[in-house]
Amino acid sequence: MEPEDIDKIFKDRLANLPATPASDAWARLQQKMEPPKKARSMWIYYTAASITLLIIAGLWFFNNQYSPGSGTLATVNKPKASAVSPLKTATPVTIIPEEVKTAETQVAQAENIPSEIKQKSKNQRPVVVKGDEKMKAPVIAKLKKPVKAEKILAKEKTYEPTPSPALVASAPEEKITLRGPDNSETATVLTASIIEVKIKRDSPEEEERSDLRENLARKTNLLKNIYKQARNLKNGEQVELASLGIDTDKINAEKKEIKEKLNKVISL
Protein backbone atom coordinates (compact mmCIF):
# COMPACT_ATOMS: atom_id res chain seq x y z
CA MET A 1 0.00 0.00 0.00
CA GLU A 2 1.46 3.31 -1.07
CA PRO A 3 1.31 6.30 1.25
CA GLU A 4 -0.91 8.10 -1.24
CA ASP A 5 -3.40 5.23 -1.04
CA ILE A 6 -3.81 5.81 2.66
CA ASP A 7 -4.40 9.46 1.99
CA LYS A 8 -6.97 8.55 -0.63
CA ILE A 9 -8.89 6.17 1.62
CA PHE A 10 -9.29 8.82 4.26
CA LYS A 11 -9.94 11.64 1.86
CA ASP A 12 -12.65 9.80 -0.03
CA ARG A 13 -14.59 8.87 3.05
CA LEU A 14 -13.90 11.75 5.42
CA ALA A 15 -13.62 14.80 3.18
CA ASN A 16 -17.36 15.24 3.23
CA LEU A 17 -18.14 13.80 6.57
CA PRO A 18 -21.84 14.01 7.15
CA ALA A 19 -22.75 15.52 10.47
CA THR A 20 -25.84 16.99 11.99
CA PRO A 21 -25.50 19.84 14.46
CA ALA A 22 -27.63 19.83 17.57
CA SER A 23 -31.09 21.33 17.23
CA ASP A 24 -30.32 24.23 19.51
CA ALA A 25 -27.10 25.04 17.66
CA TRP A 26 -28.68 27.86 15.63
CA ALA A 27 -29.98 29.54 18.76
CA ARG A 28 -26.53 29.27 20.32
CA LEU A 29 -25.00 30.75 17.21
CA GLN A 30 -27.33 33.73 17.45
CA GLN A 31 -26.33 34.17 21.07
CA LYS A 32 -22.71 34.20 20.03
CA MET A 33 -23.44 36.91 17.49
CA GLU A 34 -24.62 39.27 20.24
CA PRO A 35 -21.64 39.67 22.58
CA PRO A 36 -20.20 42.81 20.98
CA LYS A 37 -23.39 44.73 21.76
CA LYS A 38 -23.42 43.41 25.29
CA ALA A 39 -19.80 44.33 25.83
CA ARG A 40 -20.53 47.92 24.82
CA SER A 41 -23.40 48.25 27.26
CA MET A 42 -21.24 46.85 30.04
CA TRP A 43 -18.64 49.45 29.21
CA ILE A 44 -21.27 52.16 29.67
CA TYR A 45 -22.18 50.76 33.09
CA TYR A 46 -18.56 50.76 34.17
CA THR A 47 -18.12 54.37 33.10
CA ALA A 48 -21.26 55.48 34.89
CA ALA A 49 -20.22 53.67 38.05
CA SER A 50 -16.77 55.19 38.09
CA ILE A 51 -18.11 58.71 37.50
CA THR A 52 -20.57 58.33 40.37
CA LEU A 53 -17.77 57.14 42.60
CA LEU A 54 -15.65 60.15 41.69
CA ILE A 55 -18.49 62.55 42.46
CA ILE A 56 -19.10 60.94 45.84
CA ALA A 57 -15.42 61.04 46.67
CA GLY A 58 -15.25 64.68 45.62
CA LEU A 59 -18.22 65.68 47.77
CA TRP A 60 -16.83 63.84 50.73
CA PHE A 61 -13.48 65.51 50.35
CA PHE A 62 -15.09 68.94 49.99
CA ASN A 63 -17.21 68.43 53.11
CA ASN A 64 -14.22 67.32 55.13
CA GLN A 65 -12.21 70.27 53.96
CA TYR A 66 -14.69 73.05 54.63
CA SER A 67 -17.17 71.87 57.21
CA PRO A 68 -17.06 74.41 60.07
CA GLY A 69 -18.22 71.83 62.59
CA SER A 70 -15.10 69.76 62.35
CA GLY A 71 -12.93 72.83 62.85
CA THR A 72 -14.49 73.91 66.15
CA LEU A 73 -14.69 70.39 67.45
CA ALA A 74 -10.99 69.99 67.00
CA THR A 75 -10.21 73.03 69.15
CA VAL A 76 -12.79 72.23 71.78
CA ASN A 77 -11.37 68.80 72.36
CA LYS A 78 -7.86 70.14 72.77
CA PRO A 79 -8.21 73.28 74.81
CA LYS A 80 -4.59 73.33 75.89
CA ALA A 81 -3.02 72.24 72.67
CA SER A 82 -2.22 75.62 71.20
CA ALA A 83 -3.03 79.24 71.79
CA VAL A 84 -4.30 79.78 68.29
CA SER A 85 -7.15 77.79 66.84
CA PRO A 86 -6.50 76.05 63.49
CA LEU A 87 -8.81 78.41 61.68
CA LYS A 88 -6.65 81.32 62.57
CA THR A 89 -3.20 79.87 62.27
CA ALA A 90 -2.57 81.68 59.04
CA THR A 91 -2.74 85.16 60.49
CA PRO A 92 -0.28 84.88 63.36
CA VAL A 93 2.24 82.90 61.34
CA THR A 94 2.51 85.47 58.61
CA ILE A 95 2.42 88.57 60.72
CA ILE A 96 4.65 87.43 63.56
CA PRO A 97 7.51 89.85 63.03
CA GLU A 98 5.14 92.79 62.89
CA GLU A 99 3.26 91.61 65.90
CA VAL A 100 6.36 91.22 67.94
CA LYS A 101 7.02 94.85 67.20
CA THR A 102 3.53 95.92 68.19
CA ALA A 103 3.83 93.91 71.32
CA GLU A 104 6.96 95.76 72.19
CA THR A 105 5.40 99.14 71.52
CA GLN A 106 2.44 98.15 73.58
CA VAL A 107 4.61 97.17 76.42
CA ALA A 108 6.32 100.50 75.96
CA GLN A 109 2.94 102.24 76.10
CA ALA A 110 2.08 100.34 79.17
CA GLU A 111 5.29 101.54 80.68
CA ASN A 112 4.16 105.13 80.44
CA ILE A 113 0.82 104.76 82.11
CA PRO A 114 1.47 102.98 85.38
CA SER A 115 4.46 104.67 86.89
CA GLU A 116 5.11 101.97 89.43
CA ILE A 117 6.15 99.55 86.72
CA LYS A 118 8.64 101.92 85.21
CA GLN A 119 11.41 101.04 87.53
CA LYS A 120 11.43 97.40 86.80
CA SER A 121 10.17 97.42 83.28
CA LYS A 122 13.65 97.37 81.90
CA ASN A 123 14.23 94.07 83.56
CA GLN A 124 10.90 92.59 82.72
CA ARG A 125 10.30 93.71 79.22
CA PRO A 126 12.68 91.28 77.62
CA VAL A 127 11.25 88.52 79.75
CA VAL A 128 7.72 89.30 78.71
CA VAL A 129 8.54 89.52 75.06
CA LYS A 130 11.01 86.70 74.85
CA GLY A 131 9.60 84.17 77.24
CA ASP A 132 6.23 84.41 75.64
CA GLU A 133 7.19 85.75 72.29
CA LYS A 134 5.36 83.30 70.17
CA MET A 135 2.20 82.88 72.15
CA LYS A 136 1.71 86.26 73.65
CA ALA A 137 2.53 88.41 70.72
CA PRO A 138 -0.48 87.44 68.67
CA VAL A 139 -2.76 87.79 71.64
CA ILE A 140 -1.71 91.34 72.37
CA ALA A 141 -1.81 92.22 68.73
CA LYS A 142 -5.33 90.99 68.56
CA LEU A 143 -6.36 93.00 71.53
CA LYS A 144 -5.65 96.06 69.48
CA LYS A 145 -8.42 95.18 67.09
CA PRO A 146 -11.61 94.50 69.05
CA VAL A 147 -13.41 92.65 66.26
CA LYS A 148 -10.63 90.22 65.78
CA ALA A 149 -10.10 89.87 69.48
CA GLU A 150 -13.62 88.76 70.12
CA LYS A 151 -13.26 86.00 67.64
CA ILE A 152 -10.15 84.61 69.11
CA LEU A 153 -10.50 85.34 72.77
CA ALA A 154 -13.51 83.11 72.98
CA LYS A 155 -11.39 80.56 74.68
CA GLU A 156 -9.73 80.76 77.96
CA LYS A 157 -6.03 80.71 77.58
CA THR A 158 -3.57 80.02 80.26
CA TYR A 159 0.08 80.31 79.64
CA GLU A 160 2.67 79.01 81.93
CA PRO A 161 6.05 79.64 80.47
CA THR A 162 9.12 78.32 82.14
CA PRO A 163 10.36 80.72 84.73
CA SER A 164 13.56 82.51 84.07
CA PRO A 165 16.06 82.20 86.88
CA ALA A 166 17.12 85.82 86.51
CA LEU A 167 13.59 86.92 87.14
CA VAL A 168 13.26 84.77 90.18
CA ALA A 169 16.34 86.38 91.57
CA SER A 170 15.53 89.99 90.81
CA ALA A 171 11.78 90.14 91.32
CA PRO A 172 10.40 88.16 94.22
CA GLU A 173 6.82 89.43 94.11
CA GLU A 174 5.65 91.89 91.53
CA LYS A 175 2.43 92.62 89.79
CA ILE A 176 2.23 94.32 86.45
CA THR A 177 -1.00 95.27 84.82
CA LEU A 178 -1.07 96.01 81.15
CA ARG A 179 -3.88 97.88 79.52
CA GLY A 180 -4.50 97.86 75.83
CA PRO A 181 -5.70 100.96 73.97
CA ASP A 182 -9.24 99.57 73.77
CA ASN A 183 -9.32 99.01 77.53
CA SER A 184 -10.02 95.32 77.20
CA GLU A 185 -9.13 93.37 80.25
CA THR A 186 -5.68 92.06 79.83
CA ALA A 187 -3.98 91.08 82.94
CA THR A 188 -0.42 90.05 82.85
CA VAL A 189 0.53 88.83 86.22
CA LEU A 190 4.15 88.32 86.90
CA THR A 191 4.72 86.47 90.06
CA ALA A 192 8.02 85.19 91.15
CA SER A 193 8.05 82.29 88.84
CA ILE A 194 4.83 82.25 86.83
CA ILE A 195 3.57 84.50 84.09
CA GLU A 196 -0.13 84.16 83.54
CA VAL A 197 -2.23 85.69 80.86
CA LYS A 198 -5.90 85.31 81.55
CA ILE A 199 -8.40 86.49 79.07
CA LYS A 200 -12.04 85.82 79.65
CA ARG A 201 -14.81 86.60 77.27
CA ASP A 202 -18.38 85.46 77.16
CA SER A 203 -19.31 83.91 73.92
CA PRO A 204 -21.67 81.24 72.63
CA GLU A 205 -18.76 79.03 71.80
CA GLU A 206 -17.75 78.85 75.41
CA GLU A 207 -21.26 77.83 76.41
CA GLU A 208 -21.17 75.18 73.80
CA ARG A 209 -17.93 73.92 75.16
CA SER A 210 -19.16 73.80 78.72
CA ASP A 211 -22.22 71.94 77.47
CA LEU A 212 -19.94 69.46 75.84
CA ARG A 213 -17.95 69.07 79.01
CA GLU A 214 -21.09 68.46 81.01
CA ASN A 215 -22.20 65.92 78.47
CA LEU A 216 -18.86 64.18 78.63
CA ALA A 217 -18.91 64.13 82.42
CA ARG A 218 -22.41 62.70 82.42
CA LYS A 219 -21.39 60.01 80.00
CA THR A 220 -18.31 59.03 81.97
CA ASN A 221 -20.44 58.90 85.07
CA LEU A 222 -22.94 56.64 83.36
CA LEU A 223 -20.16 54.45 82.06
CA LYS A 224 -18.72 54.14 85.54
CA ASN A 225 -22.12 53.23 86.90
CA ILE A 226 -22.67 50.64 84.23
CA TYR A 227 -19.31 49.13 85.00
CA LYS A 228 -20.08 49.14 88.70
CA GLN A 229 -23.47 47.47 88.23
CA ALA A 230 -21.91 44.91 85.93
CA ARG A 231 -19.41 44.10 88.64
CA ASN A 232 -22.25 43.83 91.13
CA LEU A 233 -24.05 41.46 88.81
CA LYS A 234 -20.94 39.37 88.47
CA ASN A 235 -20.43 39.21 92.21
CA GLY A 236 -24.05 38.37 92.86
CA GLU A 237 -24.77 41.65 94.63
CA GLN A 238 -27.84 43.76 94.12
CA VAL A 239 -27.98 45.75 90.94
CA GLU A 240 -29.22 49.32 91.16
CA LEU A 241 -30.97 50.03 87.93
CA ALA A 242 -31.71 53.61 88.93
CA SER A 243 -28.04 54.50 88.82
CA LEU A 244 -27.96 53.47 85.20
CA GLY A 245 -30.67 55.92 84.32
CA ILE A 246 -33.24 53.14 84.10
CA ASP A 247 -36.49 53.74 85.89
CA THR A 248 -38.06 50.40 86.73
CA ASP A 249 -41.37 51.91 87.73
CA LYS A 250 -41.67 53.72 84.45
CA ILE A 251 -40.89 50.57 82.49
CA ASN A 252 -43.45 48.59 84.47
CA ALA A 253 -46.05 51.28 83.85
CA GLU A 254 -45.32 51.15 80.16
CA LYS A 255 -45.59 47.40 80.19
CA LYS A 256 -48.99 47.62 81.84
CA GLU A 257 -50.18 50.14 79.33
CA ILE A 258 -49.12 47.98 76.40
CA LYS A 259 -50.83 44.97 77.95
CA GLU A 260 -54.03 46.89 78.38
CA LYS A 261 -53.93 48.06 74.81
CA LEU A 262 -53.35 44.52 73.60
CA ASN A 263 -56.25 43.27 75.66
CA LYS A 264 -58.49 45.92 74.19
CA VAL A 265 -57.51 44.94 70.70
CA ILE A 266 -58.08 41.27 71.44
CA SER A 267 -61.49 41.93 72.95
CA LEU A 268 -62.44 43.98 69.91
Partner: protein, 178 residues
Protein backbone atom coordinates in the same frame (compact mmCIF):
# COMPACT_ATOMS: atom_id res chain seq x y z
CA UNK B 1 -31.05 32.34 -4.51
CA UNK B 2 -27.77 32.10 -6.43
CA UNK B 3 -24.40 32.36 -4.72
CA UNK B 4 -23.35 35.95 -5.59
CA UNK B 5 -26.75 37.19 -4.44
CA UNK B 6 -26.48 35.20 -1.26
CA UNK B 7 -23.02 36.54 -0.56
CA UNK B 8 -24.21 40.12 -1.07
CA UNK B 9 -27.04 39.64 1.37
CA UNK B 10 -24.67 37.98 3.79
CA UNK B 11 -22.33 40.93 3.52
CA UNK B 12 -25.22 43.23 4.41
CA UNK B 13 -25.77 41.13 7.50
CA UNK B 14 -29.25 39.88 6.59
CA UNK B 15 -30.49 37.32 9.08
CA UNK B 16 -32.35 35.37 6.40
CA UNK B 17 -29.22 34.82 4.34
CA UNK B 18 -27.31 33.78 7.46
CA UNK B 19 -29.92 31.21 8.33
CA UNK B 20 -29.83 29.93 4.75
CA UNK B 21 -26.04 29.55 4.80
CA UNK B 22 -26.18 27.88 8.16
CA UNK B 23 -28.72 25.33 7.02
CA UNK B 24 -26.79 24.57 3.87
CA UNK B 25 -23.27 24.33 5.28
CA UNK B 26 -23.44 23.71 9.04
CA UNK B 27 -23.37 19.92 8.51
CA UNK B 28 -20.28 19.82 6.35
CA UNK B 29 -18.47 22.36 8.51
CA UNK B 30 -19.23 20.28 11.58
CA UNK B 31 -17.82 17.28 9.69
CA UNK B 32 -14.55 19.13 9.22
CA UNK B 33 -14.41 19.94 12.91
CA UNK B 34 -15.00 16.28 13.76
CA UNK B 35 -11.82 15.35 11.95
CA UNK B 36 -9.75 17.70 14.07
CA UNK B 37 -11.47 17.30 17.42
CA UNK B 38 -12.48 14.10 19.11
CA UNK B 39 -15.09 15.61 21.37
CA UNK B 40 -18.48 16.21 19.77
CA UNK B 41 -19.39 19.18 21.93
CA UNK B 42 -16.08 20.84 21.25
CA UNK B 43 -16.45 20.25 17.52
CA UNK B 44 -19.87 21.86 17.55
CA UNK B 45 -18.60 24.81 19.55
CA UNK B 46 -15.79 25.35 17.06
CA UNK B 47 -18.19 25.08 14.14
CA UNK B 48 -20.47 27.73 15.65
CA UNK B 49 -17.56 30.05 16.36
CA UNK B 50 -16.45 29.56 12.77
CA UNK B 51 -19.93 30.44 11.53
CA UNK B 52 -19.97 33.60 13.61
CA UNK B 53 -16.65 34.57 12.07
CA UNK B 54 -17.96 33.83 8.60
CA UNK B 55 -21.00 36.07 9.16
CA UNK B 56 -19.03 38.86 10.78
CA UNK B 57 -16.27 38.84 8.17
CA UNK B 58 -18.39 38.18 5.09
CA UNK B 59 -17.37 41.59 3.72
CA UNK B 60 -13.79 40.35 3.55
CA UNK B 61 -14.67 37.69 0.97
CA UNK B 62 -13.30 38.95 -2.33
CA UNK B 63 -14.93 36.54 -4.80
CA UNK B 64 -11.60 34.84 -5.35
CA UNK B 65 -12.19 31.12 -5.36
CA UNK B 66 -15.32 29.48 -4.07
CA UNK B 67 -17.25 30.79 -1.14
CA UNK B 68 -17.41 27.30 0.32
CA UNK B 69 -13.62 27.03 0.18
CA UNK B 70 -13.34 30.33 2.00
CA UNK B 71 -15.74 29.13 4.67
CA UNK B 72 -13.85 25.87 5.05
CA UNK B 73 -10.62 27.75 5.55
CA UNK B 74 -12.13 29.85 8.30
CA UNK B 75 -13.52 26.82 10.07
CA UNK B 76 -10.23 24.92 9.77
CA UNK B 77 -8.38 27.90 11.20
CA UNK B 78 -10.88 28.06 14.02
CA UNK B 79 -10.24 24.39 14.78
CA UNK B 80 -6.48 24.91 14.71
CA UNK B 81 -6.79 27.88 17.04
CA UNK B 82 -8.89 25.83 19.43
CA UNK B 83 -6.42 22.94 19.38
CA UNK B 84 -3.53 25.27 19.99
CA UNK B 85 -5.31 26.79 22.98
CA UNK B 86 -6.57 23.56 24.47
CA UNK B 87 -3.78 21.09 23.97
CA UNK B 88 -0.41 21.93 22.54
CA UNK B 89 -0.14 20.12 19.26
CA UNK B 90 2.85 18.11 20.48
CA UNK B 91 4.34 18.55 17.09
CA UNK B 92 7.76 17.84 18.48
CA UNK B 93 6.83 14.36 19.63
CA UNK B 94 9.38 12.07 18.02
CA UNK B 95 8.35 8.52 18.49
CA UNK B 96 9.98 5.77 16.57
CA UNK B 97 7.56 4.20 14.23
CA UNK B 98 8.46 1.41 11.89
CA UNK B 99 8.40 2.19 8.24
CA UNK B 100 5.33 1.42 6.26
CA UNK B 101 4.74 -2.26 6.61
CA UNK B 102 4.57 -4.15 3.35
CA UNK B 103 1.03 -5.22 3.19
CA UNK B 104 -1.37 -6.13 0.50
CA UNK B 105 -4.37 -5.03 2.41
CA UNK B 106 -6.74 -3.90 -0.20
CA UNK B 107 -7.60 -0.23 -0.22
CA UNK B 108 -10.92 -1.17 -1.68
CA UNK B 109 -12.04 -2.93 1.45
CA UNK B 110 -15.22 -1.47 2.74
CA UNK B 111 -14.35 0.43 5.83
CA UNK B 112 -17.03 2.29 7.64
CA UNK B 113 -16.66 6.04 7.92
CA UNK B 114 -16.94 5.74 11.70
CA UNK B 115 -13.98 3.33 11.82
CA UNK B 116 -11.83 5.66 9.78
CA UNK B 117 -12.78 8.59 11.97
CA UNK B 118 -11.91 6.56 15.02
CA UNK B 119 -8.48 5.75 13.56
CA UNK B 120 -7.94 9.41 12.86
CA UNK B 121 -8.89 10.25 16.42
CA UNK B 122 -6.42 7.60 17.58
CA UNK B 123 -3.55 9.69 16.25
CA UNK B 124 -1.72 12.18 18.46
CA UNK B 125 -3.13 15.66 17.91
CA UNK B 126 -0.09 16.88 15.99
CA UNK B 127 -0.07 13.96 13.55
CA UNK B 128 -3.79 14.18 13.10
CA UNK B 129 -3.67 17.86 12.34
CA UNK B 130 -0.98 17.58 9.71
CA UNK B 131 -2.61 14.55 8.11
CA UNK B 132 -5.95 16.35 7.97
CA UNK B 133 -4.45 19.43 6.42
CA UNK B 134 -2.32 17.64 3.87
CA UNK B 135 -4.19 14.49 2.91
CA UNK B 136 -7.79 15.66 3.26
CA UNK B 137 -7.83 19.45 2.99
CA UNK B 138 -5.13 19.41 0.35
CA UNK B 139 -2.76 22.05 1.71
CA UNK B 140 0.92 21.92 0.77
CA UNK B 141 3.65 21.39 3.34
CA UNK B 142 4.64 25.01 2.90
CA UNK B 143 1.12 26.21 3.72
CA UNK B 144 0.88 23.84 6.67
CA UNK B 145 4.23 25.03 8.01
CA UNK B 146 2.90 28.60 7.92
CA UNK B 147 -0.44 27.75 9.48
CA UNK B 148 1.04 25.82 12.35
CA UNK B 149 4.15 27.92 12.73
CA UNK B 150 6.48 24.95 12.24
CA UNK B 151 9.05 24.26 9.55
CA UNK B 152 8.33 22.26 6.42
CA UNK B 153 10.54 19.37 7.50
CA UNK B 154 8.51 18.92 10.66
CA UNK B 155 5.32 18.93 8.65
CA UNK B 156 6.67 16.22 6.33
CA UNK B 157 7.95 13.99 9.13
CA UNK B 158 4.66 14.37 11.00
CA UNK B 159 2.77 13.35 7.90
CA UNK B 160 4.84 10.22 7.29
CA UNK B 161 4.47 9.20 10.93
CA UNK B 162 0.74 9.72 10.76
CA UNK B 163 0.53 7.61 7.66
CA UNK B 164 2.56 4.82 9.25
CA UNK B 165 0.30 4.75 12.31
CA UNK B 166 -2.86 4.80 10.20
CA UNK B 167 -1.58 1.96 8.03
CA UNK B 168 -0.95 -0.13 11.10
CA UNK B 169 -4.47 0.50 12.24
CA UNK B 170 -5.85 -0.32 8.80
CA UNK B 171 -3.97 -3.63 8.71
CA UNK B 172 -5.15 -4.52 12.18
CA UNK B 173 -8.77 -3.84 11.33
CA UNK B 174 -8.30 -5.78 8.12
CA UNK B 175 -7.12 -8.80 10.10
CA UNK B 176 -9.89 -8.57 12.65
CA UNK B 177 -12.46 -8.26 9.88
CA UNK B 178 -11.28 -11.42 8.15
Amino acid sequence: MNEPELIKKLQKGEGKAQKFVYEKYAGSMLGICFRYLKNQMEAEEVMLNGMVKIFQNAHQFKNEGSFEGWMKRIVVNEALGYLRKKEPLHLAIEKDHSQLAASDASAESELAVEDLLQMLHGLPAGYRTVFNLYAIEGYSHKEIAEMLDINEGTSKSQLSKARALLQKMLVRSEISNN
